[in-house]
């Protein structure tokens, strides 16, 4: 499971880096989104991978850390998703504004000379 997950995170992050380095603003945005998905998965995995372990203690039992998942990375990842979503949406608005004012979707705001 560790190998599959780390490969998945690596491939998604790598694709994100490739897209961020592309010249069109929409590609950059997609790249940033892919990178943030990979980072979210990464944070989640930092709480250790485990199966069938709830982050909660059932009523009436003594808490036992051995059978519980770590709730902190789950809380962190929720916050990170919300913040990443908001800032990406904001970047999208800036991108549309730049497209409208400069008439091109190149990240430099002008078409490269061919």
């Amino acid at each position: 499971m560790e190998i599959v997950l780390s490969l998945a995170i690596g491939i998604v992050f790598g694709s994100g880096i490739w897209l961020v380095l592309r010249p069109r603003s929409f590609q950059v945005l997609t790249g940033l989104m892919l990178m943030s998905y990979a980072v979210n998965l990464f944070i989640f995995a930092m709480g250790r991978l485990s199966l069938d372990q709830p982050p909660l203690t059932p009523v009436g039992t003594v808490p036992d850390p051995a059978v519980l998942a770590d709730p902190v990375p789950q809380a962190l990842v929720l916050t990170a998703i919300v913040i990443g979503f908001a800032t990406t949406a904001l970047y999208l608005v800036v991108m549309i504004g730049a497209r409208g004012l400069s008439g091109t979707d190149h990240v430099d705001g002008e078409e490269p000379e061919t």
Binding site: M35, S36, M46, L76, I83, T87, Y91, G97, V107, G109
Partner: protein
């Protein structure tokens, strides 16, 4: 036992701008007088709170460190805010600059566009939060609050230049935020804590294989701070963004650059001090050499540019690089002098940013073109006959203020920039007891700081001569009193810093001494119990 009211002051610098910004958001733009008044009240409240915090941390609270537990959760579990001498001083600095920028924005910048005042308040909330928080993930949240507000503010007064600069600025900072998250996740995975004091306690006892992972995590996280602090080669976005932003926003951006250096200072002195065993002094050399490379890059940029906005941006890079090198040199006496430089250079650069727009008003487009052609073709133009008329007051103010800013940025006597640099050199040459004497690294740093000051004075003098003496001025520029006052006030604060350098230095010495005792933070943050609830009190 309820909490002593003074302790609640620690959270006021975050709550006050949050509430004010939220209240201002639904008001329509037509009511800008009301908006301005509310924002002004909020910023004055922030200044009063920050001054009170300086007094309390310095005289009243044990050890000068006061934790505040959000929602009353005890230290490593909940989010802890910590006020100490350094963070209190940073809050004063933030409030002062905010007051100046807000006042400057009153006649023009606050009235165009939408939601200037709300965004400004949220920016203050983010900056204050980053200064106060003692939790790594909470630091990330406040960084994002600060950045999200700054994205909106950089775009304020929407034009092509600002959009183009924002495209880069936002993309760089989004990528840096992702690095921040990766670093935080790695730190949590290796140590199981996000509280800085708890992290400092655990780092000495880490197994060697986790230590490597922790150092990797902190290094990745530091990339995010250093991108904000514009360390070479992470700072290429900075001059374009600063030159494009409107002046009051640019003045606040200067402070945001320093937030990066502040966080590096705080985390490094707490987590990787001399006493941290195998982790001691991790990364100090990288900070020192990176900082020196930043000084060189910024100085070269200052020489190469002839617009005021970009020159100020490169000056900010130089000052940021100096600070990072001072932190990386790893000597307590130097850190104390570096803190004085932190305050003095931030005030000088902010005043310079505000002044920039006013100075540009006397540079007619024709004068700018002339300067360009003079550069390209080495034209010898014959000066016009002197007319023998008096210097108008506006021109006198602009040129004197420009000269004062130039002296402070270059570090020439008699203003605060000189005191700051002299203090740093003194600390370098007299390292104090038990410290190695000044070596090749120290001499290199000193030479670079002197050379960068020389470069600054050359490029600023070139600009000043062309603008104030050689430009073809048709009439004195029109200045609004509300625009002159904040610049004059910031310069007056600098003069005060110079005249009252001794008490300021003493305060900074106490703040620096605290920073070099991680045990103090561990005791105070982890040792302070939460407030007992009403049930426990009834028993």
């Amino acid at each position: 036992m309820s909490l002593d009211w003074t302790r609640h002051l620690v959270i006021v610098p975050i709550l006050l701008p949050l509430l004010c910004g939220a209240l201002l958001a639904p008001l329509t733009e037509g009511r800008h007088r009301l908006k301005f008044a509310a924002a002004y009240v909020s910023v004055c409240g922030l200044l009063a709170t920050a001054l009170a915090l300086v007094v309390f941390t310095d005289t009243r609270w044990p050890g000068g460190v006061q934790p505040y537990f959000a929602a009353n959760w005890a230290a490593p579990f909940g989010i802890a805010l910590v006020a100490d001498r350094l963070s209190a001083l940073m809050l004063v600095l933030t409030a002062l600059l905010a007051l100046a920028a807000l006042h400057y924005a009153q006649p023009r910048w606050g009235r165009i566009g939408v939601h200037f005042h709300s965004l400004f308040q949220f920016l203050l909330m983010g900056i204050n939060g980053a200064f106060l928080t003692h939790d790594l993930f909470n630091l990330f949240v406040f960084f994002e609050v600060m950045l999200a507000a700054s994205y909106g503010l950089v775009l304020h007064g929407y034009n092509v230049a600002r959009l183009r600069a924002s495209m880069q600025y936002i993309a760089v900072n989004l990528a840096a935020s992702l690095l921040f998250l990766i670093g935080v996740a790695l730190v949590y995975a290796t140590t199981g804590t996000l509280n800085m004091a708890d992290l400092a306690r655990r780092v000495g006892a880490l197994a060697p294989h986790s230590l490597g992972l922790l150092q990797a995590g902190v290094a990745v996280m530091a990339l995010a701070f250093l991108a904000k602090g514009a360390m070479w080669p992470l700072g290429f976005w900075l001059p374009t963004t600063y030159a494009a932003a409107s002046p009051p926003v640019a003045a606040m951006l200067v402070l945001m650059t320093k937030v990066g250096a502040y966080v590096v200072l705080r985390i490094w002195l707490l987590v990787f001090p001399e006493s941290a065993g195998a982790a001691a002094r991790f990364g100090y050399d990288a900070l020192l050499w990176g900082g020196m490379a930043t000084i060189v890059f910024g100085a070269a940029g200052m020489l190469a540019t002839d617009t005021l906005g970009r020159m100020a941006g490169y000056a900010a890079i130089v000052s940021s690089g100096t600070l990072l090198a001072v932190i990386g040199y790893g000597q307590p006496a130097l850190v104390k002098a570096g803190l004085y430089y932190f305050v003095a250079s931030t005030i000088a650069l902010s005043a310079f940013m505000l002044l920039g727009e006013l100075v540009d008003r006397i540079r007619t487009p024709a004068a700018a073109v002339l300067a360009l052609t003079a550069e390209a073709y080495a034209v010898e133009d014959t000066p016009a006959e002197p007319k023998g008329r008096g210097v108008p007051a506006a021109m006198a103010f602009l040129s004197l203020a420009f000269a004062a800013c130039a002296l402070m940025i270059a570090g020439l006597p008699p203003l605060s920039g000189f005191v700051a640099k002299f203090g740093m050199f003194h600390a370098l040459v007299n390292p104090g007891q038990g410290m190695p004497p000044i070596g090749a690294r120290g001499w290199t740093l000193m030479a670079l700081v002197i050379a960068s000051g020389l470069v600054a004075i050359v490029s600023l003098m070139r600009f000043g001569v062309r603008t104030f003496w050689a430009a073809d001025i048709l009439g004195p520029p029109r200045l609004h009193a509300a625009e002159v006052l904040p610049v004059a006030a910031l310069l007056a604060v600098s003069v005060l810093l110079t005249v009252q350098a001794e008490p300021v230095y003493r305060y900074l010495a106490r703040a620096g001494a605290d920073l070099h005792r991680p045990g103090l933070y561990i005791d105070r943050v982890l040792g302070t119990p939460p407030v007992p609830g009403p049930a426990a009190e009834a028993r």
